[in-house]
Amino acid sequence: MSPANTALERVTQVPGVRGSLLISATDGLVVAERLMDGIDGRAIAALAGSLVQRLGRATQGAGMRIPTFVHLRGNAGSVLAASGRNDLVLVALAGVDANLGLARLEMLDAVGSLT
């Protein structure tokens, strides 16, 4: 199994996580994905990539460091994003019942292991 798929599998095994993707932040394109049926990975990659890029610019503009982890919380769940090397971002979609703490730990560890 490729390192990307290993990272995705670790994240999707966390209870409540509905899927995960590895995306290219600059291009907003899917590199690898493991998603439940009916979830549009292409749209998530484009929008999450844009979100991470813009947050990076905003924090830099404010004189702070680029965020390593982003948690976007909604009524029906959360979008989590962990930035890695080479412009890669690991994104996870989590339901309201998800174990977000465990998901965060797994994502940061998994994305750190990607070269």
């Binding site: 290219s24 907003g28 929008l47 844009s50």
Partner: protein, 153 residues
């Protein structure tokens, strides 16, 4: 924004607002311009339409030679700006969209909102019979007429 057909304006404006693209040119596969935003001179539109339709024709023939279905889109990535060229079917025939965008957006966002624009265009297109294909002797006259309409000169 200048358009030959008023019903294309709203989908195009939505696309431009959502994607942050800089330029867009909508044309038929024969290079006839339907709408444009961001081009300053008719010469630029004429050149882009001719080159865009030729590139799509080349890639479609390349796909045919490879025994593959049509390519969805051609993207040329650059440091300062990038270009995406994609053909799509409408009730008015096969059209081509040429989009130029900068680093303020991404190819993923442009593709995502371009696909949504295509859905809106297909939904908004009046259900009339498609215009007859252009013949060679009419092509230049049709092209000049559409450019005159788009640029008002």
């Amino acid at each position: 924004m200048r358009a030959l057909e008023p019903w294309v304006v709203e989908p195009l404006q939505t696309f431009l607002a959502e994607s942050s693209a800089r330029l867009i040119l909508l044309m038929t596969t024969s290079g006839q311009v339907i709408a444009q935003h961001g081009f300053a001179r008719s010469f630029e539109v004429m050149t882009a339409a001719a080159l865009g339709s030729a590139i799509v024709a080349s890639t479609e023939e390349l796909a045919r030679q490879m025994g593959a279905p049509r390519f969805g889109a051609v993207v040329h990535g650059g440091n300062r700006q990038s270009c995406m060229l994609a053909a799509f079917a409408t009730p008015r025939g096969r059209w081509i969209g040429l989009v130029v965008f900068g680093p303020e957006t991404s190819v993923g966002l442009v593709q995502l909102f371009f696909d949504q624009m295509v859905e809106q265009l297909v939904g908004a297109a009046p259900r009339e019979t498609a215009a007859p294909p252009l013949v060679a002797e009419n092509f230049e006259r049709e092209l000049n007429a559409s450019l005159k309409e788009l640029f008002g000169r």
